[in-house]
């Protein structure tokens, strides 16, 4: 299980990083979202993956670790705010600069 999760997270990170390195804003934003998924999963996995029961006090069984969950929960919401900010910035930039290239100049400069 650990191996599988590690590989999946690695694949998601690789895909996210590749997209981050693209030259246009939209793929970069998609890369950002992909990377958020991967990072959230990674942090969540730090609480280990053996649990069968949610982190609710009083439930019998192997409960999941609530601390990374609390971290990830807010991270998901903040991640949304960040994504929204990034795409709005991309919109504004493409309106002002007439290009959706991340360097703002349509990639004309070397």
């Amino acid at each position: 299980m650990a191996l599988l999760v590690a590989i999946i997270i690695g694949i998601m990170v690789a895909c996210g990083v590749y997209l981050l390195l693209r030259a246009r804003t939209f793929p970069v934003v998609m890369g950002l979202i992909m990377l958020s998924y991967a990072v959230n999963l990674f942090i969540f996995a730090m609480g280990r993956l053996h649990a069968e029961v949610p982190a609710v006090a009083g439930l019998a069984g192997d409960t999941s670790d609530p601390v990374p969950q609390a971290l990830v929960l807010t991270a998901i919401v903040i991640g949304f705010a960040m994504t929204a900010f990034a795409v709005t910035l991309a919109l504004r930039a493409s309106s002002e600069l007439d290009s959706d290239h991340v360097d703002g100049d349509g990639g004309r400069q070397p």
């Binding site: 693209r22 969540f44 504004r92 493409s94």
Partner: protein, 933 residues
């Protein structure tokens, strides 16, 4: 004892530096008065505590600042400190008076006085600090204020370059000095002078003594312009002349030799000390005297003469004899008086004739006899003519060079060098007088010279009078001050010495006569010497060399900046990611990757989910140029991630991820409407290959990290929260309790960030004009059915149901999966659905909420809930559970957490809709406008 006067004396100029810029509006005289009064007040304070110092006492002010680091606010007034403080404040007062008449109408006078006072305070700090670390702070401040003062005429390139040069040289020396002082403190066990000065033997026996000495001397030599660091001082003459007179002859350049005098008992007396300090002093003495003769610029001559005299003082301390130290201290006093007055006289000549070039300045005697007389007295003192103060210390210097015995059969070198320097000193002093005031008529001067304003001469007169008084009746004037200062420098009983003018016919007198005659002859032959000098000495400009080095450094910095910061986000991303990968690699290097735990079994469902996740992530990437397709693939990734949260028993996360997923995809669809539907194929194969490598490296390093952690045993702090959740937070859903109670402050911060992001987005969208395409990427027109009826019909009854679910999730969140974040997102989705299905206008008519206010109210509510616990005497955001239990209200503790969660809910709904509704509105503007036509 009024020991607290000491920090006050140091602080007064710093505080007083605020006054001149304020008073300059009331006129130049008021401005000068404000600076002068501050200085006079400090001087009065100093004099009021000076009396016991003459009796051999000293004054100590001690305040522990950082005792663990040996850093204390300790000030100490002994003889040496008193002498320097008197010089700083006394000459400072004269310079302030002089500057009032020197500065022209265009010069910002307030700034000069402010800088001068800053410098004065720093210099007082250097000479009065007892703790060496404290002294170091003031030492650096003198370098900085000197930089400001040299660059005072900032429109002039030579002033800026001179300031830069001086700061670089003295600043580098300051760093070296700092290192030396750290070592000294390490050896001596303290940074307090009282300890260090008493442990000279221990310090000099320590193996680190040579390193310490060299480092400290580097600081001393750079500050006091000793060879080979002397080159900054002539360029510092680009400063206004009052500054040159004050900093670069009387006080700041003496900081170096002050330190020699101060540390004399701790550091001096060794053979190494003699060779380093003595040799440097000797070389500087001769070089400075030689170059002074060949300068055509008045201030240039004085600058090199200053270098030479500083060399003389250094040499005296280098001899390592108590009488040498006495002569050194004496020459510090004498040099300060005659050189400051000479600088002021040079400033007057420059001011009244418009030039400082001695090839043009001739015969000024007829135009300014008064100034000429004053200058002649001061120059005679500089040359060491009897009856002037320079003579006395020079005689002592000559005598001391005869009495040292370090060099064996080479002992004659010292008196020989001293006499030779004396010859040059006489020659350049004669040149200063004869060339300027006699020697024919002036040659096309910019102005017709005349006597300066009355009060501009007063400071010169006072200093010249001091030169004469000290020179004629030393025993009645300078003797007590000299005795106490020299005694505190040497740190022991002084051997007997006599300040008389005539000691009988002895070798020093012969050396003096030799210097006088030789100097006269040399001046008479000056034209031949100038020709020789010009032929054999290539002009070598340290400033040019320095500026060239500086340009090289700047070019290298530019190149490096361009390599790292070329304006391309892709470059930054690459560097950032590579650094991250490199750090992970460095951290993992040489460690076992996996841990001892068994990796665990994989079940079929999980495997299928994992494959789906990997497949959709990879296809998102492969198809990323077809943006809509990639977006759909990306949403699959998000959905599977939320399923994964369910699989691993995290229902709160799954609910959050699911709802955020929907909001995100709607957001990106909206954005995609404005952006190109396709990404052009512009990456080269090479670029793709490089990116794949980076991505692979990043993915591998994260995977290795995850693998490393998951196969190692762990201890969680989660158990604490599991146990404390109900007793401490009053809820069973531990994730929610952490969010709203244990880590409530974090959550408050997070919803604040959310609100700020939403408001930032709205601000960016304001006034945004975007081209709204009439067709999609393939040229097909948009569907005519803008609000499909089925969607509208279904979505309307869905709204109350969804709201009901949201309320349910919010209420139960404290005990079962749910809570403010999730409820807020569910509400937001339900509302957005109305916007999508029925249009903005329709929705606005029915649900008219000001989302900005809603967001703000949410954050405020959460914050107030936190503040509420203050009212009951508990820290911010304390859960009130169990603290007060009202019979009628019942579980009141639950209510406060609920209030906080309600704030979260409102902030989430408000900011989500703020973003989406405003973005959605943009799509309508043009289409609705065209429809309306």
């Amino acid at each position: 004892m009024n020991s607290y006067f000491l920090p006050l004396i140091v602080a007064l100029p710093f505080l007083g530096a605020l006054l001149p810029p304020l008073f300059v509006r009331r006129g130049r005289t008021a401005c000068a008065w404000s600076a002068a009064l501050v200085t006079a007040a400090a001087l009065a304070l100093l004099l009021s505590v000076a009396a016991p110092v003459f009796d051999g006492d000293s004054l100590l002010f001690h305040y522990d600042w950082l005792p663990a680091y040996g850093f204390s606010l300790t000030f100490w007034l002994d003889g040496l400190g008193l002498l320097f403080a008197l010089l700083i404040l006394g000459i400072g007062l004269l310079v302030i008076l002089y500057a009032r008449y020197y500065l022209s109408e265009q010069d910002p006078m307030g700034r000069l006085y402010a800088f001068l006072l800053l410098f004065m305070g720093s210099m007082l700090g250097v000479v009065l600090s007892e703790n060496l670390l404290l002294m170091m702070v003031f030492w650096e401040l003198t370098s900085l204020s000197s930089f400001l003062l040299i660059g005072y005429w900032k429109h002039r390139a030579d002033a800026r370059q001179g300031a830069r040069l001086a700061l670089t040289v003295t600043g580098a020396g300051g760093l070296s000095l700092f290192a030396g002082i750290m070592l000294l403190g390490h050896i001596g066990g303290s940074y307090e002078l009282s300890v260090l000065l008493a442990s000279g033997d221990q310090i000099q026996a320590h193996p680190l003594y040579p390193a310490t000495l060299v480092l400290i001397l580097l600081g001393v030599f750079t500050k006091s312009a000793q060879f080979p660091f002397h080159f900054w001082l002539p360029h510092a003459m680009a400063a206004p002349t009052p500054v040159s007179a004050y900093l670069h002859s009387a006080t700041m350049v003496k900081a170096g030799v002050f330190l020699l005098a101060r540390l004399y008992p701790a550091m001096a007396g060794s053979e190494l000390w003699f060779y380093l300090v003595g040799t440097t002093g000797m070389v500087t003495l001769l070089l400075g005297a030689y170059f002074a003769l060949f300068k055509h610029d008045l201030k240039g001559l004085l600058a090199y003469s200053t270098i030479s005299h500083l060399g003389l003082i250094t040499l005296l301390f280098g001899l390592g004899t108590p009488l040498g130290a006495v002569a050194g201290v004496f020459h510090i006093i004498n040099h300060a008086t005659f050189k400051a007055s000479l600088f002021m006289a040079a400033g007057i000549i420059d001011h009244e004739s418009g030039t400082r070039d001695m090839r043009k300045l001739n015969g000024l005697w007829h135009y300014m006899p008064h100034t000429a007389t004053l200058a002649m007295v001061a120059a005679a003192s500089m040359a060491g003519v009897p009856l002037f103060n320079g003579f006395l210390s020079k005689e002592m210097f000559f005598a001391e060079t005869l009495h040292q015995g370090w060099l064996g059969e080479w002992n004659w070198i010292l008196p020989f060098g001293a006499t030779l320097a004396g010859v040059f000193a006489v020659a350049y002093s004669i040149r200063f007088i004869h060339d300027v005031f006699f020697n024919g008529e002036p040659i096309d001067l910019p102005r017709t010279p005349h006597e300066p304003p009355r009060y501009m001469k007063v400071p010169v007169e006072i200093l010249v009078a001091l030169c004469l008084l000290v020179g004629i009746v030393p025993a009645w004037t300078v003797a007590p001050l000299l005795a106490t200062a020299a005694a505190s420098s040497v740190g022991a009983e002084l051997p007997p010495y006599n300040l008389a003018i005539w000691h009988g016919l002895n070798t020093p007198v012969l050396m003096s006569v030799l210097a006088m005659v030789g100097g006269g002859v040399m001046y008479a032959m000056r034209h031949h010497l100038f020709a020789l000098h010009a032929r054999f000495f290539r002009p070598f400009d340290a400033k040019l060399l320095f500026e060239r080095q500086l340009e090289r450094v700047i070019a290298a910095a530019r190149w490096l900046t361009m390599m790292l910061e070329n304006g391309s986000l892709q470059r930054y991303m690459m560097l950032l990611l590579l650094s991250a990968v490199a750090m992970v690699a460095a951290g993992l290097w040489g460690r076992p990757l996996g841990g001892p735990l068994a990796p665990g079994e994989v079940d079929g469902v999980t495997l299928v989910g994992a494959l789906a996740l990997a497949l959709s992530a990879v296809t998102t990437t492969i198809w990323h140029r077809r943006r809509l397709v990639a977006l759909i693939q990306l949403s699959v990734v998000g959905l599977v991630v939320s399923v994964a949260f369910v699989r691993f028993a995290a229902p709160d996360l799954a609910l959050t991820q699911l709802s955020v997923e929907m909001v995100t995809i709607i957001l990106l669809m909206l954005v995609l409407y404005f952006l190109p539907q396709q990404t052009p194929a512009e990456s080269s194969g090479l670029r793709k290959g490089r990116d794949i490598l980076i991505a692979g490296a990043a993915g591998t390093s994260v995977a290795l990290l995850a693998w490393g952690v998951l196969t190692r045993p762990y201890e969680t702090i989660g158990d604490y929260f599991m146990e404390q959740s109900i007793p401490g937070g009053g809820g069973a859903n531990v994730v929610n309790v952490i969010l709203v109670d244990f880590r409530g402050f974090d959550t408050l911060g997070e919803i604040t960030v959310l609100a700020i992001a939403a408001i930032g987005i709205v601000t960016m969208l304001r006034g945004l004009r975007l081209p709204t395409p009439d067709t999609d990427a393939d040229g097909r027109p948009w569907a005519s059915d803008r609000y499909p009826m089925i969607l509208a019909v279904i979505s309307r009854p869905l709204l109350p149901l969804a709201l009901l679910v949201a309320v349910f999730l919010l209420l139960r969140g404290h005990n079962l999966p749910g809570g403010g974040f999730i409820a807020g997102l569910v509400t937001a989705i339900a509302l957005i659905l109305q916007y999508v299905a029925s249009g903005t206008a329709w929705t606005r008519e029915r649900i008219n909420i000001n989302y900005v206010r809603l967001t703000a109210a949410g954050v405020v509510l959460a914050a107030l809930t936190g503040l509420g616990s203050w009212g009951f005497g508990y820290p911010f955001l304390t859960s009130s559970f169990g603290h007060f239990h009202l019979p009628l209200v019942g579980d009141f503790e639950l209510a406060t957490a609920m209030l906080f969660d309600l704030g979260v809910y409102m902030a989430v709904v408000g900011s989500t809709l703020l973003v989406l509704a405003n973005l959605g509105k943009l799509t309508l503007t043009k289409r609705e406008a065209t429809e309306g036509e």
